[in-house]
């Protein structure tokens, strides 16, 4: 496996730390005028999402992580795994519950997701920033109340629960921001 020296460090570089693939979030060069130089980095563990700090002596090298982001189409869930397909090669990969994590509540069949592969296997999923999902359950809508504030909980077809405006009804399609988990608007298919 390839190595990176500290002078190659930059945001987004994928390196191995403690046996897990990580991505450099921030890299700072630290050096006293007369003394040892260091690279002080913040790295995100790509499996857990946790950000930690690390310091390396300048000139040290670190194992590279074979990590790749690919845009794949979500196909279906078979109860154990979530299946994705490359739309050009038609190759499929299966992501387990750890890799999919909380993002499963935004996965709608046919949507294109970013699947992060480590040594060819999915370790995390990023759904599209905006998804359109059907409201499966909520209190009855209040007609003509489109201008008023106020909200109520709604459960979507994927099981996601979020706050929606009072006028939203069961069966409506709504657009959601998956990064914040917030309602954006009603949508047409």
């Amino acid at each position: 496996m390839a190595n990176y020296s500290t002078s190659e460090f930059k945001r987004g570089l994928k390196i191995m730390q403690d046996g897990d693939p990580c991505s450099i979030v921030e890299n700072e060069f630290v050096k006293p005028g007369k003394g040892q130089a260091f690279s002080r980095v913040k790295i995100r563990n790509l499996k857990t999402g946790r950000v930690i700090e690390r310091t390396f002596k300048s000139g040290e090298s670190v194992e590279a992580a074979d990590v790749m982001d690919t845009d794949l189409q979500y196909l279906y869930n078979d109860g154990d795994a979530w299946h994705f397909m490359d739309q050009t090669s038609f190759e499929q990969v299966a992501a387990d519950a750890t890799a999919v994590g909380d993002e499963k509540k935004w996965l709608r069949e046919q949507d294109i997701c970013t699947v992060t592969l480590w040594n060819g296997a999915p370790i995390s999923i990023t759904p599209p920033n905006h998804v359109v999902l059907k409201v499966e359950d909520t209190d009855p809508g209040v007609r003509g109340d489109t201008a008023q504030g106020g909200s109520k909980p709604a459960t979507l077809e994927t099981g996601a629960v979020l706050q929606v405006p009072l006028f939203v009804d069961i069966g409506d399609l709504i657009k959601v921001d998956t990064r914040t988990g917030e309602y954006i608007s009603r949508a047409k298919e």
């Binding site: 002078s7 700072e28 060069f29 630290v30 050096k31 006293p32 005028g33 007369k34 003394g35 040892q36 130089a37 260091f38 002080r40 700090e53 690390r54 310091t55 390396f56 002596k57 300048s58 000139g59 040290e60 670190v62």
Partner: protein
């Protein structure tokens, strides 16, 4: 349209920078310190294993086969030759060059103010640095007295460790306690551990202007070493000035002994060799000048870009330079 042609610093900031340089020159003119210029290109280089010089090549009359030249990392060596020649108090403002240094506080070329005071020791020179800061920095950054901490006091106060006597295991435990659990490659390099704690633990806690002085003897560079006693360690008569944790200046009560200077150069070249770095030519002209006799003196180098940074509350050195490396 490529926007990289534009200066990184605002024109307003560049005016402040020019104004600051004018005040520096006025400060030294009033004190009858002579402005000098020395070569940027030199046949010899600094041996310090933590400094890397850019190299260049001269070819032409006098050197048909070509001659390796090093860009200076500081004008220290030729300025000391001027002192040995009887120049008296001197200062210089010049660009200096350091290979491999880029970051929020680093650009591989930067502007240095360096000055030497025959008859001063490092305590008296700290007074003059403080006087210059009062001339240049906004009131908000100044207090009546600039705090002075020995290197040992700074470590004891902010890292709770005695930096002169701690073992590698104790430095390791101290780093661990401050959330620096693993630092690859430091091994049993005591000065490396000191630098780690200095930069990661001590510096971030330094508020306002602070002098740190009396460094470990192993970090003397070109400073005099004051022998220890049964209860005190030997220390280098060296100081640094910090502003809100940013290192601004490094000064020495200068080493005068040519033989000891040669021994340090050779030892540093040995360190370079064992660290896998190229050895560099020792400055024989400096050593000859020291053998002839350097007047007892103290000298200090101050980073102008960082001074402008702290004076203008800028976050990065690139914000105070017209064209930092990525636009050079």
């Amino acid at each position: 349209m490529n926007e990289q042609w534009r200066p990184a610093a605002s024109l307003q900031l560049l005016k402040k920078r020019a104004h600051l340089l004018a005040r520096i020159r006025a400060f030294f003119a009033a004190r009858e310190v002579l402005e000098v210029e020395t070569p940027v290109l030199s046949a010899a280089a600094i041996t310090d294993s933590h400094l890397s010089s850019f190299t260049s090549h001269y070819q032409g009359p006098g050197a048909a086969q070509g001659k390796m030249l090093y860009l200076h990392t500081s004008p220290e060596f030729p300025m000391k030759r001027l002192l040995a020649a009887g120049a008296g108090a001197i200062y210089q403002v010049c660009r200096v060059f350091r290979q491999g240094e880029v970051g929020r506080l680093h650009n591989p070329e930067f502007t240095m103010l360096e000055w030497y005071r025959p008859g001063f020791d490092h305590y008296v020179l700290m007074d003059e640095v403080a006087a210059l800061m009062r001339e240049l920095l906004p009131q908000a950054l100044l207090s009546d007295d600039i705090e002075r901490l020995t290197y040992a006091e700074a470590f004891q106060r902010f890292a709770h460790i005695d930096p002169h006597v701690a073992t590698v295991a104790e430095f390791h435990a101290c780093a661990d306690a401050h959330g620096l659990p693993t630092v690859a490659g430091l091994g049993d390099d005591i000065d490396g551990w000191r630098d780690l704690l200095l930069t990661h633990v001590v510096e971030p806690q330094l508020k306002g202007l602070v002098f740190i002085y009396d460094y470990p003897a192993s970090q003397a560079a070109l400073a005099k070493i004051r022998e220890g006693t049964e209860v005190t360690p030997a220390v280098a008569e060296r100081f640094e000035l910090y502003c809100n944790g940013v290192e601004l200046a490094n000064g020495f009560h200068e080493l005068l002994d040519a033989d000891e200077q040669r021994a340090r150069f050779l030892a540093e070249n040995e360190q370079r060799k064992s660290a896998g770095l190229v050895e560099v030519p020792v400055d024989e002209l400096l050593l000859a000048a020291m053998a002839k006799g350097l007047p007892p003196c103290a000298g200090v180098a101050l980073g102008i870009d960082r001074l402008v940074m702290v004076a203008t509350n800028s976050k990065a050195i690139s914000e105070v330079m017209a064209f930092p490396l990525d636009r050079a």
